[in-house]
Symmetry: C2
Subunit: 260 residues, 2 copies
């Protein structure tokens, strides 16, 4: 396939490199080729539950050796977004709904502290320990003026053959109770993509976003004005793609078709 | 105020007879007058958390003596709705998210039994013990074909000076995770109103619905084609009312203005 020579790659994980616990071999071979040619890249996930080290460990199990500096999550993008919004604040009070990846990821930065009485931000990520109490505190805080941030808008999270309720569902509950829409950080928001490009010190015309999900990966590219490559190894089907007004820049059956 | 002579009354509670723990004296006097004249009536609440006896006890605390046969809740309407849909089923498997009013209210009828594996209905009411696990079971069941019922669509539940997340917020989370809209039973749905009229053995042209909330009480009247009386003692303000296309049949400052 003829294509532009991209200087750097932003690469989705689930549906692109693995599918749950299954390895997508063509995706892994693509990463090996990128690594052999020393082409700059970041793994760009919408998952806020894992720490970067947990993502590295999971990738190793699928035959990809990488390090935490190649992992970019909505947690890192949220941290960067909040710090940019508060350049002068010594301390930023936050109320967090989320799992270890989000809670530890933010609170290890000492400029953030946990506050369930009067937070400046309510940050909501996927949380399998969600309770009514947490929803209530988030609702009260946002009604009291806190800014509502959602790490990602995914309606479902695949787990085995089940589609679990995702963070988009959780955030919508709080949206209905408060009348306030969240600012979403993860794909398809341009926030995480801009932030990742900055990490790579790259211009948008030099980068391409690779993924299997039209609604998150490809739309992130479209929203951010960067080229995109859809691999048909994950959730989006040919039929779904045919119905879309805006098409990906490139489409492949799998990433073996993509030369470097 | 001139008005038609109604044979029976459907009367809202919160904002009409009491406001949280405060008594609305004009509302209580109105009930006393109804009782003195032996005019048939039902209290029509959207609250699924209390049993009818708990509602009777609460009303007694506000100076209204009544009995459980005068209380009509979304739980009773749900029971009646499900039985009408399943006239021949000996046993109906249900998965319930909700508090004592809903759980006890349904399961005391032996035709229902609790089933979190393969329910025919998922019934969702306000639940301050909500957990992610419950949302997950509901999502899995509805994706597996169970019918999704919401007792009521209220976005918030007033509590002191706080607006808690209400059952409409909770149901929307499941709606986003499943792509399935619930059938709502409570006001403004016509289901609870039709069911209450049947209980009173009344025709819609003989009845009037009294309440303080345009979006639930008045819309229930409009949706069901019965007359409505808005009392300005609760949530709906004059300004909000002015913006509405369809107006209540009557509007009063408080129920002292309404002669019987």
């Amino acid at each position: 396939m003829e294509h532009k020579d991209y200087k750097c790659y932003l690469i989705d994980l689930d549906g692109t490199i693995y599918r749950g616990s299954d390895t997508i071999e063509s995706g892994v071979r693509f990463i090996h080729r990128l690594q052999e040619k020393n082409i700059p890249h970041l793994f760009l996930t919408n998952n806020s539950t894992r720490t970067p080290q947990m993502v590295v460990d999971k990738l190793r199990g699928h035959g990809v050796n990488t390090d935490i500096y190649h992992i970019y999550t909505p947690v890192l993008a949220t941290e960067s977004f909040l710090l940019a919004q508060n350049p002068d604040a010594a301390k930023i009070p936050v109320y967090i709904i989320g799992q270890i990846g989000l809670v530890q990821g933010l609170l290890k930065n000492e400029r953030f502290y946990y506050d369930d009485r009067n937070p400046k931000y309510v940050i909501v990520g996927m949380d399998t320990d969600l309770t009514y109490h947490k929803i209530r505190v988030a609702t009260r805080s946002i009604r009291g003026g806190a800014t509502f941030i959602g790490t990602n808008a995914d309606k479902n999270l695949p787990s085995g053959d089940e589609l679990l309720p995702g963070n988009g569902a959780l955030c919508t509950m709080i949206e209905v109770a408060t009348g306030v829409k969240p600012t979403y950080i993860g794909k398809p928001s341009s926030i995480i993509v801009s932030s990742a490009l900055k990490m790579l010190n790259a211009q948008s015309q030099d980068a391409i976003l690779v993924g299997d999900n039209y609604d998150t990966d490809i739309m992130a590219g479209i929203n951010c004005g960067i080229d995109s490559l859809l691999t048909m190894t994950g959730v989006t089907t040919k039929e779904q793609l045919d119905g879309k007004d805006k098409q990906p820049t490139y489409v492949v059956e799998n990433l073996d078709e993509w030369e470097l």
